[in-house]
């Protein structure tokens, strides 16, 4: 272990005590109810960034700005052959990826990640794609579809339109992204999003959330400067996600982080069921999952306690570069 590595491991421990105090003092506008068991565990699990909560968190944007990406459209009952239409336009746009840091992104419908696409298995999906950007783009969906709908050979030049049409299957958590070359550039710039296919037998009702893990290489050196979920760094640390304890929380999770081999999701203070790709009933009962790029799954949490619980990548570096947030669990 080098001196530097030693430091990296030692620094959070040193910072733990004062930061734990800060976390307990409750700086967010949504103050947690007193007397719950969550806080002490949280501060011990995640020293070093516990202070980054509420207004202390250096996140851009206002409250509810990411609601469109966080909350998926409602599921529809199984009805084979029904047409589900979406239209996506790729645009060049400057987005604020961390507080005060602006990045020239390529974005489907102007957001990174792009809009959530949802269909029920056997729906006929029709996605009209317009390239409003300055480079050739495509949409490559994960799932089962004909070769000419794969978004690899049908390059859509700037100003052109292409319609992807295929039956939605198989059910599970899927994703989509641009497949133009250079691939790394087109994904790093922000052309990706979540694609949910609901099973014929509907999943039980739940508080549904979408989380797309991503990163931003703002200085172009082939390494991410910021990490996030659904876009801006530290957004859900500044605006904790409010959920009810009485109902299951279902998270459609996908990793679209470029440059890094893996990303991960870790929940504090509780366990969850993790369904890889959401394609079967098999699950793992855990509090940490690891995903390579393109890997995804469904998380179901039945919160035991109320209070504020942190979630973040269990790569400390990603956590401290923006991939960190809180659930505000209420009764």
């Amino acid at each position: 272990m080098t001196r530097r590595q030693l430091l990296v491991t030692a620094a959070p421990a040193v910072a733990a005590v004062p930061l734990a105090k800060l976390a307990l003092s409750g700086t967010s506008e949504a103050a947690p109810p007193p007397g719950h068991a969550g806080h002490a565990g949280m501060a011990m699990d995640a020293p070093g960034h516990a202070a980054m909560v509420g207004h202390e968190a250096p996140a851009p944007g206002g409250p509810h700005e990411l609601d469109g990406l966080l909350h998926p459209p409602n599921p529809l009952p199984h009805k084979p052959g029904r047409v589900r239409e979406y239209s996506l336009t790729a645009v060049d746009r400057q987005i604020e990826v961390a507080k005060g840091v602006f990045y020239s992104a390529w974005a489907y419908n102007g957001t990174v990640p792009g809009p959530v696409i949802r269909a029920t298995e056997d729906d006929l999906l029709r996605v009209t794609f317009t390239n409003g950007g300055s480079h050739p783009h495509t949409i490559h969906f994960h799932g089962i579809h004909p070769a000419n709908m794969d978004g690899v050979f049908e390059i859509v030049s700037p100003g052109e339109t292409f319609t992807y049409e295929f039956p939605a299957r198989p059910y599970g958590m899927q994703l989509y992204h641009c497949h133009s070359t250079p691939l790394k550039k087109h994904i790093a710039k922000g052309l990706y999003g979540a694609f949910i296919i609901d099973p014929p037998n509907p999943r039980p009702p739940a508080q549904e959330l979408v989380m797309v893990l991503n990163g931003f290489d703002t200085d172009g050196d082939g390494e991410n400067n910021f990490y996030a979920v659904n876009g801006p760094a530290f957004y859900y640390a500044k605006y904790p996600i409010r959920v009810r304890r009485s109902q299951t929380v279902r998270i459609y999770l996908a990793n679209l982080t470029e440059f890094d081999l893996v990303n991960s999701f870790h929940l504090h203070g509780d366990f969850f069921r993790y369904y890889p790709t959401g394609s079967s009933d098999h699950f793992e009962y855990t509090d940490t999952v690891m995903l390579c790029q393109g890997q995804r799954g469904i998380i179901e949490i039945d919160f035991t306690n109320t209070g504020r619980f942190m979630f973040h990548a269990h790569q400390s570096e990603f956590t401290e570069l923006g991939w960190m947030g809180f659930f505000e669990v209420v009764d």
């Binding site: 001196r3 530097r4 030693l6 430091l7 990296v8 030692a10 620094a11 040193v14 910072a15 004062p18 070093g48 960034h49 202070a51 980054m52 202390e56 250096p58 990826v97 961390a98 507080k99 005060g100 840091v101 602006f102 990045y103 931003f216 703002t218 200085d219 400067n225 910021f226 760094a233 530290f234 400390s316 570096e317 401290e320 570069l321 923006g322």
Partner: protein
């Protein structure tokens, strides 16, 4: 036509006419600027700015890190996020968040740092470019305090005044020495000053390379060298003029010793500055060994001042003390400046001043030796003395390198 007009306006009118090119320049510049600099579009597109900060100084205080940043480029630069070891940290600003060209601000990061550990500090601009600064080992930076003031003064006194004063102690033996020996010591003075000139030039060049290009380091060095060289030339002319000698005669005696002391003093100013800032930034472990090294290194400087006054009338003790202070005390001032301000810009300028001063004094000493030494410049003692001067500085320099 102009001359007839000027003639009509009177003899002082050439000054008014001299303004004409300036007025025309202002007019053309404003025309060009108002056209939106579309000229650039004809030949291509300007590349985007690098958007890198110049991190001038990182200070470690109990529970906080202070980062001094400057905008080295023409376009404005905004501080967006701050990282310590690749982790985004909360910070507050002591100064503006958006910096104009060459403007500075201090970023204050509350942070429980670990003594002696290395840190990487990163500052990211609003365009997402991260500038990093490596700190080899975190040590607490002490602010200006009576204790620190005294400490730096003592260091400057030990490495500057003491060795010079000790070196002057060779004066009685020099007075009894043979003329050839005195010539050898004079040549040695020239040798050690040549060494100091090159040493200061290397320091100045090294420091200027760290400056943002906007500060034009090489130009600043030339300015400093010329200013001190020509300044001392002027002073030495005045010395000869008041000394009832013909103007072209070389300086000797107390006047030459004073000149040597000024040259050495300017070098010690730079040396003190370098020592002071190194201590302040935790780059230098200032042990007893290093202090002793500097004392041995600098004792020959005293000998250099003593050599010109070895012949001729006696020098009073107060005069000797004054010479020791002229040569040694600037080390104290340098240590204060370096310890509390740490400015590479000042460092470059001071070292450049030292270069010019040392060069000028070498010229004066060589002129003296050429005229006074038995056998002139080509004699064995002179050549040997000059080489010995360089060799001694090199050898004792090993103690502080």
């Amino acid at each position: 036509m102009a001359s007839t007009a000027a003639g009509r306006l009177g003899p002082g009118a050439w000054r008014l006419w001299a303004l004409l090119p300036l007025l025309l320049l202002v007019g053309i510049v404003s025309l060009f600027a108002s056209s939106g600099a579309s000229l650039v579009d004809l030949v291509g597109r300007a590349p985007p700015p690098t958007d890198e900060f110049d991190i001038r100084r990182v200070e470690f205080k109990p529970g906080e890190i202070r980062i001094r940043v400057t905008n080295p480029q023409r376009p404005k630069l905004t501080i967006a996020t701050v990282m310590v070891d690749d982790a985004i940290v909360p910070f507050r600003l002591d100064g503006p968040g958006t910096l104009g060209r060459l403007r500075s601000s201090t970023i204050v990061v509350p942070f429980q740092w670990v003594e002696d550990d290395p840190y990487t500090i990163g500052v990211t601009s609003s365009s997402g470019i991260e500038t990093t600064f490596d700190v080899p080992a975190a040590v607490e930076t002490r602010g200006p305090s009576p204790r620190g003031f005294l400490g730096y003064a003592l260091i400057g006194f030990l490495v500057g005044v003491v060795p010079v004063a000790l070196g002057l102690g060779w004066l009685p033996s020099l007075r009894r020495a043979d003329a050839r020996w005195v010539a050898a010591f004079m040549a040695m003075t020239a040798g050690l000053l040549s060494f100091l000139a090159l040493d200061a030039l290397a320091e100045a060049l090294g420091l200027q390379a760290r400056l943002p290009s906007g500060f034009q380091g090489p130009g600043l060095i030339l300015l400093g060298v010329s200013a001190s060289y020509l300044g001392l030339t002027f002073v030495s002319q005045r010395f000869s003029a008041t000394g009832r000698r013909e103007r072209s005669a070389p300086l000797e005696g107390a006047a030459l010793a004073t000149l040597v002391a000024i040259g050495i003093g300017l070098h010690n100013l730079g040396e003190g500055l370098a020592i002071g800032s190194s201590i302040a930034l935790g780059e230098l472990a200032l042990g007893t060994f290093l202090i002793v090294g500097f004392m041995i290194h600098n004792i020959t400087e005293g000998l250099g001042i003593a050599a010109p006054i070895a012949r001729g009338e006696r020098i009073s003790l107060t005069r000797l003390v004054a010479l020791a202070l002229i040569a040694g005390a600037p080390a104290i001032a340098g240590a204060w400046i370096g310890g509390f301000l740490t400015s590479d810009l000042l460092g470059v300028f001071f070292f450049a001043l030292a270069v010019g001063a040392a060069m000028q004094v070498v010229v004066e000493v060589v002129r003296y030796v050429a005229r006074r030494a038995p056998g002139g410049l080509r004699s064995g003692p002179v050549i040997g003395g000059y080489l010995a001067g360089i060799a001694i500085m090199y050898a004792t320099g090993l103690l502080v390198a």
